[in-house]
């Protein structure tokens, strides 16, 4: 043992080292297709999207496959094709998402200012300057309508999820089937169902609560399904451990199973909320837009952000258009804030 020898060892990743010739092939394969596409598109006057999908993608796939064949051999081809496809799709999706967000910000930020958050649109017409009025009433309405739906859908949905995972009831199959069937319910059908079942029968007067019921029906199957999946992920050993310590099933659930699934359950609630927060169709059917603020879900009309957007789109003036964009941007920000809050409260403690 030569313990006296002082040797500086640097950490390396020998499995990632590539030879010079390999690097050359990779360089050619990753630049040539783009350059060729550029030339061809320029010569033939092709539109960007067409050049990208019809010229660039096949060229890039071919080049990557050839380079893989030369450097790695046959087994590298499939890898190259999949890598190129995944990267291409990822960049496309990223681009689409980015352009949606960018145009929302671009066209909506003018209509969103501090006063827009708390003022309503009672005196606002399609030609009123953006310095007056706002979407406070719609924000309140969305929070009230969606909030009521969430308050009922979350406990009931999780309870059904618990029923599906924690019991051995014979009814589980049919409950699972029904909730899955409900997942595909079109939102307009949910709205019409509530209209016919609660309003036309005269049981509930025209009010925001009708919208809440429709959204409740839409988010319930999502929450059931996701909470079932999340609870299934809790290892069976933990259930056995709790029960072997003499725990009644409810204590085993609340003290062991639920804490283990907590962050997943919060994500579940979030996805359920995201599913309905931008729903427009049932609200147009059930809750008439009101340009002023109404806090009472049990009587009167109420605004919501989707119907706010819809109401301004009906006008053709620039200002009305900008207000609609502002509403869309506000909705996106609202969802963003909810996600951030849920991530914060749902983070793993250990």
């Amino acid at each position: 043992m030569t313990t006296e020898t002082l040797r500086l060892v640097t950490p390396e990743t020998p499995w990632r080292v590539r030879s010079k010739s390999q690097l050359v092939y990779i360089f050619i394969a990753s630049t040539l297709p783009a350059a060729l596409t550029f030339l061809i598109a320029d010569q033939m006057k092709l539109a960007g999207l067409i050049a990208l999908t019809i010229v660039f993608l096949p060229l890039q796939l071919l080049a990557a496959s050839l380079a893989a064949l030369i450097t790695v051999g046959k087994r590298g081809i499939l890898d190259a094709i999949l890598t190129v496809s995944v990267l291409f799709l990822m960049l496309t999706m990223g681009f689409l998402l980015g352009s949606v967000a960018l145009s929302l910000v671009q066209k909506g930020f003018k209509a969103l200012s501090f006063h827009a958050i708390y003022q309503n649109s009672f005196y606002v017409t399609s030609v009123t300057s953006l310095e007056y009025g706002g979407l406070g009433h719609a924000l309140v309405g969305t929070l009230v309508i969606v909030g009521i739906a969430v308050i009922f859908a979350v406990p009931i949905g999780i309870a059904v999820g618990v029923f599906l995972t924690e019991t051995q009831s014979r009814m589980r199959g049919s409950v699972r089937f029904l909730s899955q069937a409900m997942t595909g319910l079109p939102s307009i059908v949910s709205g019409l169902f509530v209209f016919a079942f609660l309003y036309l029968t005269g049981w509930v007067q025209r009010s925001a609560i009708l919208g809440s019921v429709a959204l409740f029906l839409l988010m319930l199957p999502t929450i059931i399904r996701l909470s079932e999946e999340v609870l299934k992920l809790v290892p069976q050993e933990l259930r056995y451990a709790a029960l072997a310590l003499g725990a009644p099933r409810h204590k085993a659930f609340f003290q062991v199973i639920f804490p283990a699934a907590r962050s997943g359950i919060i994500t579940t609630c979030l996805l359920g909320t995201a599913r309905v927060i931008g729903e427009t169709a049932p609200l147009i059917v059930l809750v008439t837009y009101l340009p002023s603020t109404n806090f009472n879900p049990l009587s009167g009309d109420m605004a919501s952000i989707p119907t706010y957007i819809y109401s301004w789109l009906k006008f053709s003036t620039d200002l009305a258009n900008q207000r609609a964009w502002g509403g869309a941007l506000a909705l996106m920000i609202l969802v963003g804030v909810l996600f951030t809050l849920a991530r914060f409260f749902g983070r793993k403690r250990f």
Binding site: E237, A241, G246, P248, Q255, P259, R349
Partner: protein
């Protein structure tokens, strides 16, 4: 199958604590365990040995009514704790599980709780109360020979412990409820020799005032910790049964049955 009643209750001069009478087990239509008659004297350590799939783990789960948690599980026969059938109508499985604790093959501490929280989880889960929780935590961890390693970090999460420590934490958690009987289903199969030895020391010390039943694949372990041994066997898709049971010394050095001799000497299994 002949009815075995291999261990006379007076072989230790002690009373029978736990016994089984003609226990049969099914999963759906599959008969997996047949006619098990065993007696576990007070404060004894009993090892259950046998090849994989012979029904040892299934049997040990019938002793504290964990078996019934598996869908399609069925059972016939009686399990008597101090003479009372734990499967009798009206017996609360929760009380049975408080009296008969269990340690599983895979360490399964509660990941969302601290070390201290895990030790006290039995109290919280079963609705019991303790006058002095700190003392209970210390005593339980001492008994599981884990105290010295964790006394300075009782509030760190249980997941931060090594596998062997986690298993000892699970033992401490079971001991905190002060059960009459402790069932251990291959508690050392996932552990290194050092942790194994510490758990064996724990078993020896707790058996001074607790009846222990341990499933093990380790013959040396069975000889080191147990006073009596039962050898289980299942042949060709037939239900498992007890081939031979008796004092550990007899089973390993003077077995009556050829199959027992072959198994304990390592000729099969």
């Amino acid at each position: 199958m002949e009815s075995l009643n291999p261990i006379p209750s007076n072989s230790f001069g002690a009373d029978v604590h736990l016994s089984t009478k003609d226990v049969h087990v099914w999963f759906g239509q599959r008969h997996v365990l047949e006619g098990v008659n065993l007696e576990f004297p007070v404060n004894s350590v009993t090892a259950l040995i046998g090849p994989s799939g012979c029904g040892k783990s299934t049997f040990i789960r019938t002793l504290n009514r964990m078996h019934e948690l598996i869908p399609n599980a069925k059972l016939a026969g009686e399990v008597l704790l101090k003479g009372q059938n734990i499967y009798a109508v009206g017996v609360d499985p929760i009380q049975v599980r408080i009296n008969i604790g269990m340690v599983f093959q895979k360490p399964n501490p509660f990941p969302t709780m601290t070390i201290r929280g895990n030790v006290l989880s039995g109290l919280r889960l079963s609705g019991k109360h303790s006058r002095n929780e700190d003392e209970l935590v210390e005593n339980s961890l001492q008994a599981a020979s884990l105290w010295n390693e964790v006394k300075d970090r009782l509030d760190s999460p249980a997941g931060s412990l090594s596998g062997g420590q986690q298993q000892r934490l699970c033992i401490a958690r079971a001991l905190a409820l002060a059960p009459d009987v402790l069932l251990m289903d291959e508690p050392c199969s996932a552990l290194d020799p050092g942790s194994t030895i510490r758990i064996e020391e724990t078993i020896r010390s707790i058996s001074k005032n607790m009846t222990v039943v341990i499933v093990t694949h380790n013959m040396q372990q069975a000889q080191r910790v147990s006073e009596q041994t039962a050898f289980f066997l299942a042949e060709d898709n037939n239900p498992g049964y007890v081939v031979e049971a008796g004092l550990t010394n007899d089973i390993f050095h003077n077995p009556k049955d050829k199959r027992t001799e072959d198994y304990v000497s390592g000729r099969f299994g």
